[in-house]
Symmetry: C2
Subunit: 163 residues, 2 copies
């Protein structure tokens, strides 16, 4: 491996709080859905938490990835609340809606993270039993979230560039 | 959707050639494997080509995502050639190796794309039958690739910022 080997540095809590706030704000504003966030924990092993997952990459002063993942049923109901109509799970519009939600959460959190960072367009993974890994030189923190439509999770695996 | 609706602009071929060169160069230099690239085609529907996939996000003057995806068997043999030893498919080192290959291909291509772009750390998806979608406002071009260990593909879904 040519990457810098700095295994598992602890994620600064200041990098997590903006995502906890962004989740509540985005779902309330954009989908009219009240969500709750629970205490984050360190992901014990790389793997997707759920079936439908929007992934955003960070680069610049903040590097890493953030994903928002849902069970199938939570994804369908939250997308319906967001889009104003039910969308077929296999349609491009469904993936777009998941990507857009992930994009808004990452974009909203980014404003409060400090530093100059840019975020990539989202990739949306839909399936069963797949795993998602990031480079293992930074920890992944899972923020478990609740909604009236089911549980979901925001997984944050980012670090701030140290000067 | 709040995104700008500019559906399916055609990808500039100048954005594709650097990836075709990068694939050959990275596998030859880093794994001692001769690869071939075939004529790219427009992906007819979002979906993963194979089972093991490394995804890199671009931001800045180039925005979008690039993924490198392999069948299980091609991934295992190419990773063995790259790492110098066989790695278990479920180990973090295996995902790291796939991510690192994707990172080197994207990084190498980026140098020849022009403009100021940054790339995110890779996300690696491992599973069966999942689909990966990007935001549908840019086309996805598939570059089919061949190797002695099996086929793989580089999927490029990026666009250059127009000033």
């Amino acid at each position: 491996m040519t990457q810098t080997q700095t295994p598992n540095p602890v994620i600064n809590p200041k990098l997590i709080v903006p995502f906890m706030n962004a989740v509540r704000q985005v779902f309330k504003t954009m989908a009219g859905v009240e969500t709750t966030v629970q205490k984050p924990f360190i992901k014990p092993h790389p793997g997707a938490s759920y079936d439908v997952c929007g992934i955003i990459g960070f680069s610049g002063d903040i590097t890493g990835t953030v994903s928002v993942s849902f069970s199938d049923s939570a994804a369908q109901k939250l997308v319906e609340a967001f889009a104003g109509a039910p969308l077929d799970r296999s349609s491009p519009d469904f993936a777009d809606a998941i990507g857009e939600l992930a994009n808004m959460i990452a974009g909203s959190a980014k404003q409060h993270l400090g530093g100059l960072a840019s975020i990539s367009v989202p990739s949306v993974v839909i399936g069963k039993g797949y795993t998602i890994s990031n480079m293992t030189n930074s920890q992944c923190l899972v923020i478990p979230c609740g909604s009236p439509f089911g549980e979901f999770a925001v997984e944050v695996s980012i670090k701030q560039k140290t000067v």
